[in-house]
Symmetry: C2
Subunit: 447 residues, 2 copies
Amino acid sequence: MIDYRRLRVALLGAGAVGSQVAALLLKHGDELADRAGAGLELAGIAVRDVDAPRATDLPRELFTTDAETLIVGSDIVIELMGGIEPARSYLLLALRSGADVVTANKALLATHGPELFDAADQVGAQVYYEAAAAGAIPIIRPLRDSLAGDRVNRIMGIVNGTTNYILDRMDTEGADFGDVLAQAQALGYAEADPTADVDGYDAAQKAAILASLAFHTTVPLEAVYREGIRDVDAGIIESARRAGYVVKLLAVCERMNGATGESISVRVYPALIDRGHPLASVHGANNAVFVEAEAAGSLMFYGAGAGGVQTASAVLGDLVSAARRHVAGGVGVGESTYANLPVVEIGRVTTRYQITLEVDDQTGVLATIAGILSEGNVSIATVEQTPTMPPIADASTSPAAGQGTGRARLVIGTHKAVERDLSETVERLAASDVVERVVSVLRVEAD
Amino acid sequence: MIDYRRLRVALLGAGAVGSQVAALLLKHGDELADRAGAGLELAGIAVRDVDAPRATDLPRELFTTDAETLIVGSDIVIELMGGIEPARSYLLLALRSGADVVTANKALLATHGPELFDAADQVGAQVYYEAAAAGAIPIIRPLRDSLAGDRVNRIMGIVNGTTNYILDRMDTEGADFGDVLAQAQALGYAEADPTADVDGYDAAQKAAILASLAFHTTVPLEAVYREGIRDVDAGIIESARRAGYVVKLLAVCERMNGATGESISVRVYPALIDRGHPLASVHGANNAVFVEAEAAGSLMFYGAGAGGVQTASAVLGDLVSAARRHVAGGVGVGESTYANLPVVEIGRVTTRYQITLEVDDQTGVLATIAGILSEGNVSIATVEQTPTMPPIADASTSPAAGQGTGRARLVIGTHKAVERDLSETVERLAASDVVERVVSVLRVEAD
């Protein structure tokens, strides 16, 4: 094992996200060190009550109520407390003492982002906040870096999972808002006080963050127009459906060109989206951000918008980025090939298959074929006999050639099988007396 | 204007992507300087023939055939020549002379990536290659940085636009491979020699790059299993459709756990995808990369996979990133708010609307309503009269209350209108004698 320089990491908060971050950091510490080029030592977790019950099992000695001492002694500070104070003061203290900070706090960034970025600039530190805009979906780096040479014209985002879950259920079940909200609350998809979600406050904070970054402009939260989804009833959803639309709570950040020059609009409201648009296919509690840029054209980023472990992924990505910058200015480490896993040959891959055969339509044929598959360690999931069709070549000479000749087409779906077993089995099928022709063998992925 | 430190940028190659990069760099130079915190001076464009015809109009004095001299005098070198040599030698020369390099050359990275990364590490330089994996889709930074704290288990990518275009046309039109390929060639979607695309070589190069990054493992191009789409005929597509699948050329990079530890598989082939999967909705020449990670769950990145100007967006994003690192170690500049565009209030926003009204079902009502809309500067795109429905409250007391009362429901789709005009118009509609009730007013986005 390489003897890396060790960086001290302070964690503020141990809620749903914080406890996952701590657990993953302890579990995958060695692997993260390889990626960062630095050891990541969890120096402590600042909480209000050391003895409060936690979602995950963490060593009690990590907890402290003395956040200031923890912060001042750390290289990187991760803030997952939420709310404005004391999160703001703690992050300013961290930045002023030279630490890089990682935060998922959208309320804080939407209201005090410029103050934090200024404080970071003054000491050459960095604020990382990938988890603040759309949970685990990487959207900050694409906007900040990948599209830095382009001009973003519009962002349309489904950035609140709770409201998307509610609207999606209303759309698929014809249910009314109140009923679905109650269900969502019972299932833990919505909070007991759902105001932040259903009235669009959460989406408005994210819209302010995305617009600031996309348009290089300070967007105060008050400048974001906001409507929630409480007035969306079953009738509206049904009438949208009849017109070919689906209703989504949308965060729209738009560049506008007027007589007096360029301006932007940032707004959150329930909107009608054509069912053919990629955003219309974002179901359940998922999020997606659709970006239109001058040169890149249309891009979409899709994934889980919330959830403790999903958000923890974004936080840990930021932590590794911050660590890389500490040790090497971020150079090169990303491409390191420390893992060097063996690349297996195709024969050892397992996947599902669809085998299409043209067979003699006789008693016992299926039993013969099933026997060959079974001997080859290929397990059958589905079999379908489709109407017999003559081969195209035959059809041109004699239209009825394939009909009534006692041939049938079998489509066999397999369970997962090893590629080598499968290809040997197909060879034996092809050689079998009852098989006229192997029409196709295709692998099934992404099902 | 701020007097930035100026960085010398060398461009190698002036083909479809190179000429767009040069044109955009000259056009948006000031804006890119603000984002980078450094002036970006196009020092020259190295080509084989200075007088060859180009897609865009560029000053002749920029062109040179002396690539070496141009490279050695530059801070950042952008390589868009393609092919292995002399691209490889030029990039090694650039790195050894301390320049950062930007490249879209997937063939070179898939075969000589480790050599380039090592050369960069030795001098503390950086290789940027966002444009090499999926055109304008930001996938390198998400894999390298955003997911650096997570474990990627699987990547499934539609990473070749030509083959996706061909398979999509075959799927929607029932056409055969040869016919669609000929059409694609006529339209410029496929090359005269389509081997690199249809036989999966291009996708295999991208798969090697993605797998190397995702699994921190050197993946030689020879280790990528590869099948193309030449054998996919109309019958296969049709039979896939009947089974609820669509055929896509898929690049699969997969982590495998076996008795002897972890390994990976990297493979490219036409595969069946369930029509409900997000990858099934990727149409035309678009690309998408679906990533499954341990903590983040499922993510998808979608956009244009190729095209000169789209790829130029990714190249310029890399250029700005490289420039930021030169001047400030990449700190802070991404959040700069130099643009400070005004944020307009909602009243000045223009969008399309759907207005649903309950009206008296009398002669002349539509004329009255159309008159109110027209006076309010709201132009009608569509009007639909839907079957009259009683209000739900009425229905519970008297099921027939709404029927035969001479009421109808009008759904009006508008052209783009100014929000303030629209809301004033809706107020006047609500006050009109012929309107019983304004049922809903919804904005239409993303159509």
